[in-house]
């Protein structure tokens, strides 16, 4: 699929030639494009005169950068210590079951949800915690997962 890079013109203009811009630039580009494809990184390399290897190196180093298309809603399962001792694994399994994800898969086939883990969301008193987009849900139990997901599916008319 050909990607349209014209929407990146502004960002490139803003950052071109300045030192230390790679991370904020990639953050902005990911925001616009949804993820960082090989083509996107090659395009940025040409436009900014930064070696593609350097861009790829940074993109793969930080967990925030996504190299594959992401679902519409991002579900982050907190894997912090407090959540771990409060059965975060059970929550993740329940999410995987509810989203019908096979092992190794992280995005649903309808591209509605992507399931990821995060080191700690810093809401340890509400453990176990998940975050869907910018909303945090705490004190969860595996049984309550489908009720939360229904709300998002409902908005999509599914």
């Amino acid at each position: 699929m050909e990607q349209d890079f014209s929407q990146l013109t502004e960002s490139i203009k803003k950052y071109r030639g300045k030192p230390g811009i790679l991370i904020p630039l990639l953050q902005e580009v990911q925001q616009i494009m949804g993820y960082l494809s090989k083509d996107t990184m090659a395009y940025l390399s040409r436009e900014l005169d930064i070696p593609a290897a350097e861009i790829y190196g940074v993109a793969t180093f930080y967990s925030m950068f996504k190299l594959k298309p992401q679902g519409k809603h991002i579900i982050r399962v907190c894997k912090g210590t407090a959540c771990h001792v409060s059965n975060a694994d059970g929550i993740k399994d329940a999410l995987k079951t509810a989203l019908e994800l096979e092992d190794g898969e992280d995005t649903t086939s309808d591209m509605l949800f992507t399931l990821t883990e995060v080191a700690c969301l810093g809401c340890c008193s509400l453990a176990p915690v998940i975050m869907i987009d910018d909303t945090t849900y705490g004190k969860l139990s595996p049984d309550g997962i489908s009720r939360i997901l229904e709300r998002y599916a409902y908005e999509e008319g599914k």
Binding site: P24, F61, Y62, A82, C120, S125, D134
Partner: protein, 588 residues
Amino acid sequence: MNEITVKVGMASCGIAAGASEVYEVLARRQKESGGFKLVSTACIGMCFEEPIVEFSGGKLGTISLGAVNPAKVEEHLRDYLDAKLPDANIILADHYDGKYNELLRGQTRIVLRNCGVIDPKSIDDYEAHGGYTALRKALTMDPEKVVEEVKASGLRGRGGAGFSTGLKWSFAARAQGKKKYVICNADEGDPGAFMDRSTLEGDPHNVIEGMIIGAYAMGADEGYIYCRAEYPMAIRHLTIAIQKAEEKGYLGKNILGSDFSFELHIKEGAGAFVCGEETALMQSIEGKRGMPTIRPPFPAERGLWGCPTNINNVETWANITYIINNGSSAFRKIGTENSTGTKVFALAGKIAGSGLIEVPMGIELRDVIYKVGGGMKTDKPFKAVQMGGPSGGCIPASLLDTIVDYDSINATGAIMGSGGMVVMDSGTCMVDVARFFLNFTQNESCGKCTFCRIGTRRMLEILTRITEGKGEPEDLDKLEELASNIIKGSLCGLGQTAPNPVLTTLRYFRDEYLAHIEEKRCPAGVCTALLRYEVIPEKCIGCTACSRKCPVSCISGKVKEVHHIDQDKCIKCGACYSACKFDAIRKG
């Protein structure tokens, strides 16, 4: 009479618990009828009771209510206006008999003094609480005098390692160079720690003011706050605070009419734990992969973009205003000889009062957990407290009389760390905890040093094997050998401390490792592969609930007869255990 003020705790944790709904109800009410001032404040620390609403200015004085229901909050307001005390159950703290008065009395608040008190988005509110007076005072002092004052206070780096802050400042102050930087490390990555998030969300100006003072003392004219992107509210509050401080002339050119200028930026992290290490953090600000570099040269000589740089953690910066305003001797009065001041802890895990606390150094761990923290959450007994996250260790019950200071905590094999304190009860498996942390460090190792990259992986494999019941007797020796090599062969703090969770659990909970290896048994009943579910014949009434839930149909038995689990077929999913309403299934 004072104006009635209603404060709603609107930090990340409050909002996750439903504080926005409570605030909306109050905002609507205020728009309709007025009669009170509505303030959104941040975290007051009692996260376990969110959403929290505080009323003040009325005949009853100040009352905090916890677990406030949006449907009830108007009623609470009406009662307060009528000077009618609400149901005692929801009163957290007041002049009467709030259930957590005791909990608050054990604390000394320096860093968190404004958190949950002021509106973090209002610079006027911060100024009304003594904000920016320390900066005014510092600007009348010689820069060297400011460094001296911080040195004399005995303040040690709150990021974990505990190096003398004043000494660190003096290196950067002495360093030659036209351009210098100060950096605030807000890349709080330890799982189970949220002190810095709460501090930045609740009182961003205090950190900023500390940084301006530091920049003045060391001769820096530019600074960065490197903050985790997972903390959107902290970044939002910092952005507002920096903008307001610029408008008021606390930041920018010729601060308060002096010839000192200072510019401050926010850098968002992109998700890499190792960036909490100072040299890796600077690499990341420069837009590179965040990999640590060899020291020396130390950042004070050659740091960001090759210039002398001083990096301190959020909590360290947040102590500066107090020290300047009250003098180093007032600060020294708090705490112990070698660990002065207070420490903020994020209490989490199996503790009743999970949340944010600030206690004087020198307090016993027992008092932190049982007095300030309100004791255990359930009937299960205390087993260990984990301090210092992936770099720290587990302190057992027998060492609960250890006092909170850098040297005493180090002696246990754990570290003070940045302040995460996760309490564990008898239902926590210590081998599983060690495996959890190793999994974390193994994932987060940047890969530069071989021992850290591969050594942690080998340790994780051994630990996983043990939790799966495939442990071998020589595994413990192998773990210890690997641990000592990783400590020696790693460049930065991540690798040097990665084995700590394993070493401390081996030291204090060796029998638990042995139970896994020799008896193929998990005493805490956590490691799935080692679990066994059995029906207790005396308690089973034959209701068939378990056999109906079993996904592999391995439970046999007729109605009203004792059931039986076929161990060969059982996949140990625990469905029967949760389904049984008569506690007739034993897990172990």
